[in-house]
């Protein structure tokens, strides 16, 4: 695909996927209903919809389906971008957004507050807070020793993630097994059904800003991916840039947990798929990952919603769909890996 066409084409696919997903749902709506609704809503033309039906349509499309699709876009883009950034920053293709413990910390925060508090706002706040605390611990451990920073950060991340995973297990263990435990387990499997307008707005703005910051800094990622010494030789303040990017990536990932619980796999696999399609240049890879990640998560959420009468947690579908998808792309890959 020509470079100049890449982003217009991907954006078009994203818009089409999102529009198509609006038509999907367990409540049967005809295409006429939907086009009629939007024509009336946006341009005020065509007034043959009876007011009560119009309200129901608005409820289904604007209150129920649209927030989910927007959340899927935000989450897919955030996880993919932070995954791609981490893979470049740590010069390691096996790295995913959870490397520094943000997902483990956020999950712990969510589970802990589900057990001890009765308010959803508390759950969301603690989810976000503990995502950051986990990463702070990882960075703190890395700082304790002078040496290979990348290796120490990875080690710190492993320790921090292990710490919060065990704390999470304690919470699961003391949770009321009849009520709280199933709620926690379900939350950890991820799902977009909890998304509402308010949270979407509160989480969406910092997420979009973070993605833009990441795209603006993608040139530095190219330098970092050559290793610290080379990057320093180019006159880049490696430590500062790295800390800034870790902060931004943590912000994005923690907010995905606030919105939809644990959604694994996207942050690992989408950057790889994107890399196979567009090559390793982060200036292109990062924005392309954002678009492909968004498309992928909308698609996967559609499957979650539509396949059965009950919803499949999206954490399960992302991996089940992702694996064959990955295999196909791997076979067809022409571009180099690094």
């Amino acid at each position: 695909m020509k470079r100049s066409l890449l982003f217009p084409v991907l954006s078009l696919i994203l818009v089409l996927t999102a529009a198509f997903s609006l038509t999907l749902g367990k409540y049967p709506l005809t295409l006429d209903d939907i086009t009629g609704f939007f024509l009336l809503k946006m341009f005020g033309v065509g007034d043959d919809i009876d007011p009560e039906h119009f309200l129901l349509l608005g409820n289904l499309l604007i209150d129920i389906r649209l927030p989910r699709i927007l959340a899927a876009i935000l989450i897919g883009a955030s996880l993919s971008v932070s995954g791609a950034a981490f893979q470049a920053m740590f010069v390691n293709p096996l790295v995913s957004p959870g490397l520094l413990g943000v997902l483990a910390g956020a999950s712990f925060g969510a589970a802990m507050s589900m057990v001890f508090f009765d308010s959803w706002f508390a759950v969301q706040s603690f989810t976000f807070l503990f995502g950051f605390i986990a990463v702070l611990i990882a960075v703190g451990i890395a700082r304790m020793h002078k040496g290979n920073t990348i290796l120490l950060l990875v080690l710190g991340g492993v320790i921090s993630a292990a710490l919060f995973t065990s704390l999470l297990s304690i919470i699961k263990y003391i949770a009321d097994p009849f009520n709280q435990l199933p709620a926690i387990v379900q939350w950890l499997m991820g799902g977009l059904s909890l998304v509402d307008h308010k949270t979407l707005l509160a989480a969406g703005i910092p997420q979009v800003v973070s993605i833009i910051v990441m795209i603006l800094f993608s040139g530095y990622l190219n330098a970092l991916s050559m290793g610290d010494e080379e990057a320093q030789a180019l006159g880049i303040p490696v430590e500062w840039i790295r800390m800034l990017l870790i902060f931004v990536a943590t912000m994005m990932s923690a907010l995905t947990v606030v919105l939809a619980g644990m959604i694994g796999w996207v942050g690992l696999i989408i950057p790889h798929i994107t890399r196979m399609l567009v090559g390793p240049d982060n200036k292109i890879l990062i924005p392309a990952s954002a678009l492909i990640g968004a498309i992928y998560l909308i698609f996967v959420d559609d499957i979650s919603r539509m396949l059965f009468n009950v919803e499949i947690p999206i954490g399960i579908t992302t991996s089940l769909v992702g694996i064959p998808f990955f295999a196909i792309i791997l076979r067809k890959a022409k571009k180099g890996w690094n």
Partner: protein, 350 residues
Amino acid sequence: MTFNQKSIQIIAATALLLLLSVCAAAAVEARTITDMKGRQVSLPDPVRKVYAPSPYGSYIMYSVDPSMLAGLIFPIKEEDKKYFPKTVQSLPVIGSLFGQGQAANIEVLLKARPDLLIMWATDKSAINQKTEESLKKLNIPFVYAVAGSLADYPEVYLFLGKVLKREKRTKRLSLYCKNTLEEIKGVVNRIPPGKRPSVYYAEGMDGLSTECDDSIHVELLKLTGDRDVHRCHTSCHKGFEKVSLEQVILYKPDVIIVQEKVFFDKVFKDPAWRNVKAVREKRVYLIPRHPFNWFDRPPSFMRILGLKWLTSILYPGEYKIDIIKEANNFYRLFLGVELSADEMRQVIYP
């Protein structure tokens, strides 16, 4: 020579010990009872301390005689302490034996020295080999109480009364359960199936988990008109089936009963829910849950009161009761606590 003397001493000491232990065993007389699985169990007499290593068993013991408990299955929450006598609050937390929550440390259980274990089963015939074997190792006699459905509770109470020699009390409890079950059956039977309201049971923080209509978790819905909107077969005990909001809109439930306060607080504010019939008609109810849930999770003896509560919600015209008064009676009889009308209002409408 010294060797011989020593061995005689050892033999004599052993014999003495044996004799003593026989005497000790004889001091606690035994009586034999048939448990609800038909096993012959010889019980120590009297039974002073019991432990029920499952939530169901422990919960029902709170209503039979909490002072007989050797330990708790879960720690009692701070806000629920007022519903329990001081002696119960200070009991050690032992935990449960086979799954379901915090696993018991066997040595803590042995240290608490219960005379008898009360096991809970939902099926008379099924015998779990593994469970039985590990129970035998504990060397504490155990009896099975079996309740497959709420209709078995009167019998369970009578059985526990016999085992624990609390017949007088459990007869009253048993009768209360039986009368309630019959009373509600009468009310529901008078209403033609077409006029019974349909119900959606909202679980989880998002209110989008529910139960299939044949699940034990929604037995009360079965008993109060069998109009659970989510018709399917439960594949596992855990339940918690995820549904989509669009599905709920399609179900057009007349009434929603809600498990989580978090969800209850937002259901009328969240525009996404405004097209659900029950929300539009303001027929959404939060399930009372202190100190134990009235409806489910766990499905306990509290459901007897839950049955009255739910019937009064579903059929306000046909079943007119003062739920505050009824609930206070129930708490007095089953839990031995006296609440003022205001306190009870706080339990029902937090």
